[in-house]
Subunit: 455 residues, 2 copies
């Protein structure tokens, strides 16, 4: 019986500032562009969607940004989150590598999303927002924001991708328990939804469509704002508390990672754990940062660094990012949070500048490693997080082959308690890896070739 | 926005001994009786089922029992568990009462059951047990023991009540992920199972039948032992770490409870939080202890204090306890962990001696209060735990009516992440309260009248 090692910070050691990596990036992310004029989008272009205090964070180049006291007070329900040394997992893999993981599944909604949900709800409350809209795919973001909006007493409407709404009711129930209104997208209450339904009355929806609906609902209404659970700079900023805590915990452990790993959907959980370590790298420290994505949606590994829309029906500003094209339709893998066509501009720029690495894996190998992990450490990972675990195994096996000690840190971004139907299918041998044909990538790339290049 | 208050002990403050309430009870529980001879059952009568080190704990009258180091090391993954002051819940109820809760849902399997599962697996490992059997209803116990047996490398076979096996696959999946063999009970691999299937080939099983099967599988095999997740003295002992931690946390808070509340199925989670406070009561402190059960299975409130079998087909020793009769078949309420016909002898004796109180509630009112709680505190309670919450609300409302401050502590024994189908039904208005006719209680009582009375 190998002992578990937990590095638990006291509440008083919780970081009191977020780290804004933009301050230290050698090349800053290019500006978003107004979709109509093609000109750099200014704060006023975002004002219909976001309150000004969040827009200020979005464009800020200040290195450290104070976490407001009320946000810290709510974080304290589950933060600082634990850092574990996964010794039983190391043993199961027979690796000389030391594997550490930061566990974000301890939050009330069960993932890292709560970190930014609380902050966004707080800033909206401060700005007088009376109502919030958002979209959700598998539901991690929707449930985190429902939790946060409920605390601050802000009514929330969630456009939930219809296939998840119908096939995975439990995240929907969680949002309803927290008091949110949840509707299956596409709806016929928006132009975007009606346009999709006119083409295909049986459309099961997509994240891109749901974004279009949530944006259209919020933009024209003075008292309603829209929120996004990843991709944008301010969202990534709020997640940096993960890596900042991890740095303190590594000091407790008297250790330092050689490689830091996170799964990548929109990029926020990876940025959250990686950014503070990137700051060390900028200062000359040897550390590798690895983002992991599904082969079914290989944005960083097979996408193009190009301007593209954030949504499916081309209403958002153009974002400078790795993208597969805004109408790319990934296969229905169980890691619903990794099925986004684009990638955060910050992460995209870092990848472009070779400051981070990226790898893609199939879902069956990810489930397999998730079960090895669960059996060793007792925690069942979300399918998204299992992608990070897959790459941990690859690094650990390489360490074994090379006979080297290697210190690996990964972010276990959430638990899989609401994804057990996926595990049920995996255990029954009913999950397949669907190959992604190049022709499909080419087709969606073709649609965005005419949009501006990133300078 | 009201601030959450968390009282978090350091790992070094974790209690290093369990508290054995038997040492201090004014009347000790009567001995179990051998079902054949009717004579008090000695350690040797339990030897076919349990290893001798656990039997010694079962009959011990020593006040403090050391928690073995390897058990403490595993506990450290999630313990000390947090004590929260539920200020937003107080606010939602508009009560002057102060409400605290101890949260056991932070364990890897999501409930308090892990506390005893780890201890039982450890003692079995120490005793050389090569294989373990158990039963599970809704699956909280089965998944906790699967987690623990996996850590110690002991193969486990779980007899899972068939209706849960088929209708609630996710706890089954969790056990399988942890490496356990899970079979739907009744099986035709045991005499007990075959007897039931002969009467009713479509039997959906019951906890009593599953116990019979797990016992029959283990008893004749030298290398196989049986484990129980509640009821027995040693199981209640292992749970006392909950109350011992809570006492330390109340010291941090500078407060002390007027009333301590836990839901009651077999009695272990209630005993876990209540026993250390009962020790204070024995020493003259004013504190009330309240067990809460469902009206569908009202063991403490409508049962008889009498000897009865622990299982359905009358193979276990006779236990001195409050019982509804071993063939009592409760309605299919969602709090599967509260559907046991008997009650721990320790809890039964305490109730008989008026040292604790008991109340019963319908499930709809429990769901309603669980949702008020979830909305306030962000945590979705297991349906079992919602019974404790229901009584918290009653106490808080009484405090309001009386205009008194009252300090309430309850044990939130587990989260409801694997019970979302029950919430889904509740939210859809598809849950009913089924009245329990007196005739049904009379019929099952009739069956046990001829068994020995408790002296």
């Amino acid at each position: 019986m190998t002992q578990i090692i937990k590095y638990q910070l006291n509440e008083s050691d919780m970081p009191r500032q977020w780290y804004n990596i933009v301050a230290d990036m050698p090349n800053k992310p290019a500006p978003a562009l107004h979709p109509g004029t093609g000109q750099p989008a200014g704060p006023q272009d975002f004002a219909p969607l976001f309150p000004m205090n969040l827009i200020e964070q979005e464009v800020s180049t200040q290195r450290w940004i104070d976490i407001p006291e009320p946000v810290l007070a709510i974080y304290a329900q589950w933060r600082p989150s634990p850092l574990y040394r996964a010794r039983r997992f190391e043993q199961a893999l027979g690796t000389p590598a030391k594997i550490y993981f930061k566990y974000e599944g301890v939050s009330p909604s069960g993932s890292h999303k709560t970190n930014t949900a609380v902050a966004q709800a707080y800033y909206n409350k401060l700005a007088g927002t009376k109502r919030i809209t958002t979209e959700t795919g598998a539901g991690q973001w929707g449930s985190a924001l429902s939790y946060a909006c409920n605390i601050f007493g802000i009514p929330l409407k969630v456009y939930m991708v219809k296939v998840s709404f119908e096939q995975k009711p439990y995240r929907k129930n969680m949002m309803q328990i927290y008091g949110a209104e949840v509707v299956p997208s596409p709806t016929n209450a928006t132009n975007a939804g009606r346009a999709i339904l006119a083409q295909d009355p049986n459309s099961m929806g997509s994240l891109g469509i749901a974004i279009s609906e949530a944006v259209e609902d919020a933009a024209p209404r003075e008292d309603t704002k829209y929120t996004l659970g990843s991709v944008l700079n301010h969202v990534l900023l709020h997640q940096t508390i993960i890596g900042l805590e991890a740095q303190k915990q590594f000091k407790m452990a008297g250790d330092y990672p050689d490689v830091v790993i996170g799964c990548c959907g929109g990029g926020s959980n990876f940025a959250g754990i990686a950014s503070p370590f990137l700051a060390d790298k900028f200062a000359g420290k040897q550390v590798r940062l690895v983002g992991v994505e599904p082969t079914a949606c290989p944005t960083l590994t097979k996408g193009h660094f190009h301007y593209d829309f954030g949504d499916a029906v081309c209403t958002t500003p153009l974002m400078p990012m790795y993208t597969l094209g805004h109408d790319f339709a990934p296969a229905g893998i169980h890691a619903g949070g990794l099925r986004y066509h684009g990638m955060a501009p910050i992460i995209s720029q870092l990848k472009k500048d070779n400051l981070i690495e990226a790898y893609a894996y199939n879902q069956i190998e990810c489930f397999q490693d998730a079960i090895t992990f669960a059996r060793a450490e007792g925690i069942i990972p979300a399918p998204e997080s299992s992608h990070a675990i897959r790459h941990v195994v690859v690094e650990a096996q390489r360490a074994k082959e090379e006979g080297k000690e290697r210190v690996i840190l990964f972010n276990l971004s959430g638990h899989g308690h609401f994804d057990m139907s996926a595990y049920d299918k995996y255990l029954a041998g009913a999950i397949e890896d669907v190959p992604l044909p190049q022709s499909s990538l080419d087709a969606s790339w073709e649609k965005i070739k005419g949009l501006p290049k990133v300078a």
